[in-house]
Symmetry: C2
Subunit: 199 residues, 2 copies
């Protein structure tokens, strides 16, 4: 039997199938879409893949993704250099930035401690964090996820940070804004009670 | 506020978002995936897009997608040149080839007649089909979809083909193999009754 699609199209379908969350049918649909768009647009797409892959690297200071040696946040003179907010991933950093609340610096760990998955301190950007703790830095905010791994990482880091005379704080956990107490899980409710404040 | 992601990554996310069926979250996931794969794999992916877009064209004979001037089916000497199976799209052709039943040639219309969408005979590869109806061709099988548009197209083509002394046939419609009569729609059931055969 002759192949149903030309080799170059079959190759493209296979490439799309390698992407996470893309099954065979989606891969066929995406490959056919690429055949239909003007050649210029297909070129722009391919170039965007190359550009991003080649130019994106980790900021030498905070380890966030950047096109430069030092990222735009670290090199922004208006940011408060006394506070470092530690997050697990660039996506967490992006979520935090969207709030427009925080004006300090960040540090991206690229993961969380997870002995079960074989992720130890040396697999995270912890050495790089410690190297940033100059006297200028007075507080390190642990904004790791409220998971077992995230909590353990926050704990581990706070023990490293505090002996240096730096405050270690943890972001608050509780009922999400707009959330319903009735449907909150026990852990969240317990944390919400624990973290209660005078009004 | 500083941009959350470097410009080249933001550009890649936007490119992924332009693809059909890919929302913002999927686009972020796919772009991050591209950051994580070895550079060689990202290059291969980008190259596959370019290769397919640049080298895939329509077969000069059957109008199916091909990397050559004439596709592998049309140039296969073992195919029966007396029969042409007309389909709406390359995907339909691929589905037909998978059955390994049909040994004749194909013709891809690239659509179906649809006055409501402004698709007339001149928008389909009908001229190209007529040009192929040499005396060698004895039958044209209408394998357009069992939709209003597909039926109209099959009808239209059969009226063009028959005066040339070529048989025009239509693929059978009925209960799908493994299908349940109870759940078949009325149109399908009616077609199944209509197309009944002696056993």
């Amino acid at each position: 039997m002759a192949a149903a699609y030309p080799p170059s199209l079959t190759a493209l379908i296979e490439e799309f199938e390698k992407l996470p969350g893309i099954g065979h049918k989606s891969a066929v649909r995406l490959a056919f879409h690429m055949m239909k768009v003007p050649e210029e647009k297909a070129r722009r797409f391919a170039q965007a893949v190359l550009d991003a892959r080649v130019s994106v690297r980790l900021c030498e200071s905070c380890q966030n993704l950047t096109d430069e040696r030092i990222c735009s946040i670290c090199s922004d003179p208006s940011r408060d250099r006394s506070t470092i907010c530690v997050v697990e991933s660039p996506k967490d950093l992006a979520a935090m930035e969207k709030t427009r609340e925080y004006r300090g610096l960040y540090h991206v760990l690229h993961g969380a401690l997870s002995p079960i998955d074989g992720v130890g301190p040396e697999d995270l950007k912890i050495k790089e964090l410690m190297a940033r703790l100059t006297p200028e830095v007075t507080e390190v905010i642990m904004a790791t996820n409220p998971t077992v791994e995230g909590e353990a990482t926050a704990m581990y880091l706070s023990r490293l940070v505090k002996p240096l005379g730096v405050r270690a704080t943890r972001i608050a956990h509780g009922i999400p804004v707009g959330g319903d107490i009735e449907f909150a899980d026990e852990m969240t409710l317990a944390r919400a009670m624990e973290g209660r404040r005078e009004i």
